[in-house]
Symmetry: C2
Subunit: 350 residues, 2 copies
């Protein structure tokens, strides 16, 4: 038992989950709704409104491929979209360090504006607080979003019901995955974390390594228009390893993943390998993982591959009727369990 | 022109407003909706949903009369209620310093639970981030709330229309105040700020001084049930002085306030006087200021006075047809302008 908070308590893995259960969920009264707090999903759903919040504490604020502004819009837009929500309004709360350059703040606001335009959402409300020097590291943004039920959810459900007549789950939740579902990843893993490490430490990695941070609501919309999707989730803190463990434990199903199918850029593989970091455990900010009925998986894959954000998409595995853990069939042969990470190996990745 | 952020940029007064206009609003595209970002009101209203966010950076976390948990629920509940919204779901995002005692976090979660019960709202989603020591001062909570239109708003409007047939403003906004409106304050000013200063500095003030931090949705509901209310706002950062200046400039109307009517506890008056702080400029966390048609003001006042939170309520002034500034008729005689404060005299008051 921990007596004090450690960096791993914010790492999105097992240590954080235990603390959230024992210290937070235990003390709050759960409200019965479509997706409640206790589901610990990417967003709550209450009275048809998808509602999600995230504080962005990323270090550094500017990095190859993005900045905290782009991240704070993309992250929240994605958390709403992966539940089947259509994000329509955002709230941004800024906590700024005394002495922070107003020019940098303006650059970040312009980035927020650009990302909002790309994602077709608007910031409609906000707050500004200032803390003394060394009471906050430069700037933290908390972005909260609200979304309405996507018009495509009913269509998506109808497609599933063609093949599974008793299936009746409208929203996309971690509890939905069933035997036979194919697992699709929308692109390469590890880009964001490697870009952050590179910007932070000047390791001299391949200069083409860029964060993938991006709003994915339009990609998700295209996939839902095909239909047959049981769940979508973005592999952020704790990476794909955390995501797969959440899926197996919440859905009570096994997952078989094929290592050779997982897309990773060679430069990222080299950089993370050099640091001894498992790309499966590193957070991404522009990728989604989709579970879909096998009859539609290939069509969904081809649709995603036609988008800019999804050109490297792959089917990487499937849900199997075995004990509820994710198993990796390795390239060198043999299977190994993908363990739940304690937390993301890269602190303050988002 | 400032090149860097100062503590006053988070102080809720003129300096913050200028920065928000020039650096934030200027760069974001305003979404046309019931109450847009550019209205800079306590909440946005979009498609009938009241939406508000606040980061709570208060120092210290525990203080006479409350703690950051109670504050973070009350503040957001109040921001939704003062617009005419009925808060129904909250999102809480925690940013915690490495090394923070988990026992303290649990105490704060219990306080959040108690305040939610009192306000009849639920936390339905959240986020947890950890920052290194000296990258964040202990704990910051960002609470975002969503509310539905109060069922009493139509009734409230009908009552106004009995006396002002052309009045058609359903929501309670800073642009609504009209000549003749009475100004009601729900209780004594300065308690919260004085309690914070006392906890922070060990000044040895009267030990009965306590923060007023409280959810006010039930008081607001009772007032709206009488009807005739044109606007409600809570005098937080920058205090009543900031509130009155926002009302006069946005509604384009003058306000006459009678100093002898403003309720201030003697102990608070003494403590703030000793420090040379104007109680009009200090943030409160359990008070609302109401503008109402004169025909209903007395009935609203009596209703508020029957509540625990409103027993010291007073009618303190009225809207007059003069230049759009607030004027104070002083106890010693004569009038003086109530200037817009540069920012709250007490940093990190909320």
């Amino acid at each position: 038992m921990y007596k004090n908070i450690t960096m791993m308590h914010g790492g999105g893995g097992a240590i954080m989950q235990q603390m959230i259960q024992n210290t937070i969920i235990k003390n709050l009264k759960d409200k019965s709704c479509e997706i409640p707090l206790s589901a610990l999903d990417d967003a709550a759903i209450i009275d048809g409104i998808v509602f999600s919040t995230d504080s962005y504490t990323i270090n550094p604020l500017f990095f190859p491929g993005g900045d905290i502004g782009r991240l704070s819009i993309s992250g929240t837009v994605n958390d709403i979209s992966v539940m089947g929500g259509d994000p329509f309004a955002l709230a941004c709360s800024l906590i700024i360090e005394e002495g922070f350059p107003i020019d940098d703040l303006e650059r970040i606001m312009m980035s927020i504006h650009e990302t909002c335009t790309e994602a077709k959402v608007h910031v409609v409300t906000g707050d500004t607080k200032v803390m003394e020097k060394k009471s906050i590291d430069k700037l933290v943004i908390t972005t909260t979003g609200i979304g309405k039920k996507s018009k495509l959810l009913e269509h998506n459900l109808e497609i599933i019901q063609k093949y599974r007549p008793n299936y009746n789950k409208l929203w996309l939740s971690d509890f939905n995955i069933e035997k036979g579902d194919k697992i699709i990843i929308s692109g390469t893993l590890g880009d964001h974390g490697t870009a952050i490490l590179s910007a932070r430490n000047n390791y001299g990695f391949d200069s083409n390594i860029k964060s993938d941070v991006s709003p994915l609501n339009s990609v998700i919309e295209k996939a839902l228009a095909i239909g047959g999707i049981t769940n979508i989730k973005d592999p952020t803190r704790g990476g794909l390893a955390n995501l797969l463990n959440e899926w197996t434990s919440k859905s009570g199903i096994g997952l078989k993943i094929y290592e050779e199918k997982i897309p990773v850029k060679e430069s990222v593989r080299t950089a993370l390998g050099f640091l001894g970091i498992d790309y499966l455990e590193v957070g991404n900010e522009g990728k989604v993982c989709i579970s879909a009925i096998p009859e539609k998986a290939e069509e969904i894959l081809q649709t995603i591959k036609q988008t800019k954000e999804g050109e490297d998409a792959m089917i990487i595995g499937e849900a199997i009727n075995e004990i509820d853990i994710p198993v990796l069939e390795t390239i060198i042969g043999g299977n190994r369990i993908i363990p739940m990470p304690s937390g993301d190996p890269i602190p303050r990745i988002c």
